[in-house]
Structure formats: structure tokens, C-alpha cells
Symmetry: D2
Subunit: 260 residues, 4 copies
Amino acid sequence: MDNLLSHKNSGDPIIVKVKDIDIGREKKVVISGPCAVEDYDTMILLAKKLKSCGVNILRGGAFKPRTSPYDFQGLEEKGLEILKAVREEVNIPISTEIMDPRDIEKSLEYIDVIQVGSRNMYNYSLLKEIGRLKTPVILKRGISATIKEWLCAAEYILSGGNENVIFCERGIRTFEPYTRNTLDLNAVAFIKNNYRLPIIVDPSHGTGVRELVYPMSLASIAAGADGLIIESHLNPDKSISDAKQTISVDTLCDIINKIK
Amino acid sequence: MDNLLSHKNSGDPIIVKVKDIDIGREKKVVISGPCAVEDYDTMILLAKKLKSCGVNILRGGAFKPRTSPYDFQGLEEKGLEILKAVREEVNIPISTEIMDPRDIEKSLEYIDVIQVGSRNMYNYSLLKEIGRLKTPVILKRGISATIKEWLCAAEYILSGGNENVIFCERGIRTFEPYTRNTLDLNAVAFIKNNYRLPIIVDPSHGTGVRELVYPMSLASIAAGADGLIIESHLNPDKSISDAKQTISVDTLCDIINKIK
Amino acid sequence: MDNLLSHKNSGDPIIVKVKDIDIGREKKVVISGPCAVEDYDTMILLAKKLKSCGVNILRGGAFKPRTSPYDFQGLEEKGLEILKAVREEVNIPISTEIMDPRDIEKSLEYIDVIQVGSRNMYNYSLLKEIGRLKTPVILKRGISATIKEWLCAAEYILSGGNENVIFCERGIRTFEPYTRNTLDLNAVAFIKNNYRLPIIVDPSHGTGVRELVYPMSLASIAAGADGLIIESHLNPDKSISDAKQTISVDTLCDIINKIK
Amino acid sequence: MDNLLSHKNSGDPIIVKVKDIDIGREKKVVISGPCAVEDYDTMILLAKKLKSCGVNILRGGAFKPRTSPYDFQGLEEKGLEILKAVREEVNIPISTEIMDPRDIEKSLEYIDVIQVGSRNMYNYSLLKEIGRLKTPVILKRGISATIKEWLCAAEYILSGGNENVIFCERGIRTFEPYTRNTLDLNAVAFIKNNYRLPIIVDPSHGTGVRELVYPMSLASIAAGADGLIIESHLNPDKSISDAKQTISVDTLCDIINKIK
């Protein structure tokens, strides 16, 4: 594994630039927003609060990969339009998940960072297509991907010519039922020590439990993470999806104050 | 889960027809072939032997999802051409994996059964596209997909209008290092008892160990499986990929004789 | 691992004798009874029915290792007394679990086969003590023990001088919530192929679901198991513990007829 | 689970006292020493260095539960004698693992804290015996124990009358092969939030990789742990067991300086 493009042997640490934000330097980066884009009014209000609190990038799902086809699948193009409008009004970079290689091109005018979700970490057609771009990409770990498989997924993008890859640890599937996933901070420390790409942590999916987001955010930073991606909402209990793991803006501000 | 289209409550058992073969009836179905299509001469020779031995459908990978982008990725279109030529000469239906929604249309003239591999079970864009066809599809279980997630993946296809879905249990990821995966025959018995789609088992990936393919083939049938999909090769040790779990034609014939 | 006493390299297959029953030969062995010994009247009635149906050894828990200290812990010595009385009246060998090295000596007059439960597979003090006896022992696999750890647990007994070890696969802990455990029949085929001790399967704990006990019993035998250990009850729904996975005597008779 | 003696509903937070050290207050506690007691000279030298560095309790294994019976099993009573001598000369409390209920009584004169190892978390005979004492006990989580099972194991001790229980998260078994275990800091934050017993973390077993001990120590404290238990050695590479995860005294001092 020490001959991979992502390994420290292959070159200097990579700093991923999203507009004027550097990911991978000492200063920690915070990405936040709702699980799914719901409507313009809510989004703009949330975005302003998050920005004033120190959030660097706004996230929000337009295309939602849901376990069941009968669940809400996201606002799709309409969601992208909302994100674009918010970006312009609030002046904050936007990150959203893309699931289909055929959606990439049209998404590029709306967003600044592509997310590859956990379910698509092994979707090599999607990764190869993203490898042809220069757009930064957050590559989430597959729910039971080994570290090796995750590194190799990054190589699909790097070997295509796109170096702007940010790893995102978001919890792995284990036998434990109390938490939605088991956040694997060992993997964060391991990658940070040996590889040259930045890595952030998603304590929302990584725990699935609202009250654990705060302590696990601090633990992630202590383990060496370059930043956090956290689901937040003006009214967490009313979130269309992932309500149980979504925190309020106030709690998010507390986390940012603590880590910065 | 008892309101799903795939549940027994929703209708009669579904028999999937591939040419004149019925999958889901008392007679067991055997699908076999090499992990990857290598060349025409080898493929035609193998196909003839397999057919004479009672194999119902020929499998062979043209597009290979590999953990590393630096490994052999399959012969792609050239592989499909070889499969088509073999189909015509030997008169045997063909099954192959499709990974990219953009490859589906061009593949349809070459193959009789689409495989969705384990890595793409959560690739909902791909599943939705396949849901628009009538072509039979083998839906492999994700490497750590729960039964519920697997059933819901099938719903993505069924709800689009394509009822020709065959489940394929291929082993799940556990802590055990001796075997590549842990074959979950509990899941086979559970689905067979409660759902109306046929289910087959892949003891090659499900064990990853050549000597275990024979006993686990028998165990799969005893647990209620409607058939088997097994990697075979004229010279297993020379197989380009998956050599350790690939069996000889002779062993395959023994399995077929035993189960039929 | 091929230098272990349990490996085929170290000698002929071991046949474990329990009175006039041989475990490890072609004829399959069936052990059955309730999860916990409840009272004499129920036990004697059940024992007679099981024996007439072909069950070889009667099982019943006197000491029950329960997750919570506040749950029923078994009838202890009183349970052993009941088992002894049933053994004399029905003339059937008895198997029960021992958890504490200090209970071994007093148990020997009551029982014919010692069970080491899944929770105590790593209890090396207990294993060493059993290694000093000649009494047959059923060594259940730890809930997340690797095959290697399980083999090594057997070595603790074998190296002490007691060769009468019977492996028992009873399901491993995975992420799947539908079944209590995932029955690992790969492990059964692997051990049967490479090691010289008999191995039986517990499809009751291995599935945790009553309707799966029948098909998984057949699958276990097809995978190469030398026998089965199954929880049964005169009135399964009234079983004090493990009711969901306990089958009726009728279903048990069906299984015995099918495998013999 | 909110009716357990260990739950916050049942009373005030419990502070476990080991001589003049309080475990469970704001000040973090550090326990360190070699995996196994090797000889007096090494132990005394190490103990002095550790104490001067701020280590609160000395650990060292006298009875070693090893996967294979053919591996070194510890110095047993001789190891206890060495620990006692070191305790007297260096004036530092001693913690060691006890595996057999029959060893408890004789151990009490040698040690200040009993460890229940991961393999014996389900050894209820041992737990009940320890419940009759007042001696503090470190209860390690079983390698694949759910949080519920772990809490219930503590109840076996608490319900016997011994309130001096310290939880120890030491990593759980997952599919990931790079690290020996996956350190589950979610569990630490969850228990700290909802239960009244102190909890410490073992980043040595929790990672199995020397270079990860430092970052994961910091992450453990950030997640809310009350202390750390870390394997250290004068010459880590020469450690009789667990060499790969054992750190030098210098690294340990760095960790202590950082967290205090």
C-alpha cells in the first residue's frame, strides 16, 4: 500500500482548496447543513446562521440515496437550484452528493464540492468520471469498507488526474445496536499518519445519536482529523430525514468554539 | 417488510424465465463460467464442457469491478463480443455483470441475464435503470447488506416494472479471516420462506476457498436455494482472477450430479 | 495450525463415545431437550418422546449463563438431580453446561457429556480443568471466535489429556438483525475437511428463529456436520427461555426422519 | 436499561478509590506497565520511571490468558510476588488480571485492583465472586460484547455489593484487518453520558499498533474517558508479548504531559 499515489511516499501532503478554504492545514474545517434540502426559506435562514457561527462549507442533499425506493428521494434538480441561490446570497461554498455519473456535468455549475456517499464508494464508474474533473470530492468510507479498499477507491480518482480528494470517516457497520455505526477513529489516525490526503469525520452518521455528536467531534479532532461534517437543522426534530442524529445550530456553534 | 412487492403477501411465487429455463421451480439451476472472460478459444472450450455437464447458463465477466484501479478491469466490449459468439455457437444463455447505467443498453444484445454485483447493490441509479427493462437480473447481496437493505434493493427494480429478479447470496463480511466471506444460508432459508422471488447461492465468493465449494453447494441446496452460481475454469490455477476459489469442470460436474 | 493435536496431520479421526453412541461416524447424532430444565414431570415426558423419536442424547440447562443477573439462572443442583432421575428412568445419556471449574467434580455423577457454552470458550481455567477428565465435552464456538481461536480452545482440553472433544458451531455475531446469529457452515466444512474431531451444529442458537431450524438442520448435515443439537419443548411458546428458537417435538421428529 | 444499578437514575456518580487515587473525577488517571511481568529487575526499573512520569497505578500480567495453550502463560504466583515487592519498594498501587475464581483470595494480598480481561467478561462465576469483595475491579469489554451485555456484566458485580467497578473500553472485533481491534469511543461517550461508573480506555489493545497509541489516547480523553491503561516497556521491541502495541516510557510521558 506504500506505492499508492495517496501514500506519503508519493509526495507532499495534499491541501485541497475550496474557494479560499484550505483543507488539510492546521486550521480545522467545518461543513454543515441539513441531511436533505427541504425548501429555500429554511435553507437560507440556516445558511446565514451557520456562516456567522464559523461554518466553512454548506452541505445539503439534493439526490438522496434511500434504502427504500418508497422513501423521499430528494428534491433533485430543484434542490440544486436552491443550493445555488443560497450560495449566491450567503456567499458560502456548497457541497452535495452525486450518485449517478450522468448527473455530474449538470451539477458542476451548482456546487463546489462533490460528495461520494458511503453506498457509492465502490461505484467505480462514478469514481472514474470524477477522476476526470478538478472539482474537490469528499470520499466517504463504505459502510464496511476496509481501509485498503477505501484507499484504493481514492486511487480511482487520483489516477484519473484529480488530486482533490478528502477522505471522510463516517462510521462502520458492526454488531453494536445502540449506535447506528461505530466511528472508527483508529482509521483517521492511521490515514493521517501515513497518507497525504486530508481526512474529515462525520460524527452524525458515525454515531446516529444526537447527544454523541459533541463528544465525538472533539474526539475526532484529537485523533487528527482535518475537519468535521455535521448534520444540523433549525429544528432538528422536524428534519425530514436523519432527525435522530441532527443537532441544533446552537450545539454546532459550541462545537466550533471548542475546536477552534 | 410484509408490504413489499417481493413479499409472499403480494402475490404468487415468481418464476424467472431465461429462454427455456425456469428459475424458482423444483428443478435446480446451475450457472457457471470463469471469473473473467479471457479469450474466445478458452471460453468456447469451457462452454461446451459445462453445457454437456448440465450447466444451464454461462457466466463470464467482461466489466470487472476490482478493488484497485491498477488491476485488470476486464475485456469490456471485446469480452461481450466473445460471450455473444459463444452463445451462438454453443446455444447457451449468457449472464454477465453490468456496473454502469450507461452500459446497459449496448449490453442487451449480447446477454440474457444481467448481474448486479455485490459492490453495486446500493447503486440505486443502476437499479432504477434495470427496473425499466424486462431482462432477468441476478441481484447479489452487498458484502455487508442487511436482509432488509437487500430486499429494498430488489424493490427498486420491481417497482420500476421488472419482476425478473433473482436474489444471489454470496457471503457477508465478518471477522473470520480463514474464509473470504461467511456464507449466510440463514438468509437463504429466510427469504425462501417469506418472499416470492427465486434465490441462488454463490459458494465461490461465499467461501473463497476451492475445497469448500463442493460441501457448501450441497448445504445451499439443502437450505432451500433454487440454484447455484459457481466459478469454474479449465485450469483453475491459471485463472486471471479469483484462482483460489475457482473449481475445475470435473468438480463442477460432481456437484451437478449430486444435486440433480 | 497444521501442527495442532486436533489437525488431521496429528492422527486418525477421533470418534467420541458417549455410552454406546459414536460421534464422528457416518451415522448422525441428535441431541435435544429444553433450554433450561424446568421440572421433573415435564422433563420425563419430553425425554420419553424425544427418545422414541430417535434422539440420542438429552440436553437441558441446570446452570444458565444469562446476560442479566436479574434473569432466571437455572435450577442449579436441583436441575442436575432432575436430569439424573430422568437418565435413570428413560435410559438416555445426559448433556448439560458447566460454567464454573468448581462445579465440575460434583456434576460428574449426574451427566455424560459436559457442554462448554459460547460465553466460556475463552475460559481457559475451565478448559484446563476439563482437560484433566475423560468425560466427553461439547465445545461451543465463542460468539465471535475465529476458527483459529476455537481450535486453540480445543487444544487446551486435548493437551491436558482429554481427547473427547466435540466442536459445536452455534452461529457467530454479525451485523444482521433478522437472525440472532449467523450460522457459519463454512467453518463446519473447513473443520470437517482438515481436523480430526467431530463437529455438530446448533441451528437453534445459530438462527434464533423457529422456522429456520428445519432448513438449517438439513443444510448443516449437507455441509458435513456429524450431528445436531436442537432446543425442543413440549410447548415451545411456554419455554422459560429461548422460546422464539425452540421447536416442537413433532418438528424435531421430522428433522430426524429427513436426515437419517 | 435505565433501571440498572449502574444507570444515572440509580444514584450519584461513583468515584472508585484506589488508595489515594480517585477514579471518575476531573483529574485523569493513567495505568501502565508491561503486558506480562517478566522479572523483578526490569519491573522495578520500569515502575520507578513510570511513577516519576505521573503514572498512577502499575499494571502487569501474572496470569496470561493466551489464545494457544502452547504460548507463555505468565509467571503466575511468582509474578504476583514480584508485583508485591515492587509495590512495597516503589509505593505504587498494583493492578493485575485474575481469570479463575479460585485465584481471587490468594491474590488479594498482592494487588489493589483486579482486572477482568476481555475473554472473561462473560465469566459470570468469576464476576459473582468479585461481587462479594470491596476491591476495585477494571471490567474490560468483551471483544464483541454489546454495550448492553457489558453493562449487565457490571451488574453481576454491583448486585453482589461491590460498587467499585471501572469500565474499560479496549476495542471491538470488526472486519478491519489493519488494526487489531476497532476502538469504540462512541461507547465511551455513551456510557459517560448515561451511567454512573467511571470508564477508562486501553488504546494499546484498542489499536494493536504502536504509532496509534498516542493519537488515540488523546481522542479517548476528548470523548470523555476518565483515564487510560497503556502497555509500556523499557524496550518495547523486546516485550515477551504484545510487542507491536507496546510503547516506550518516553512516549508514555509525552501522552501524560499532553492530557494533564
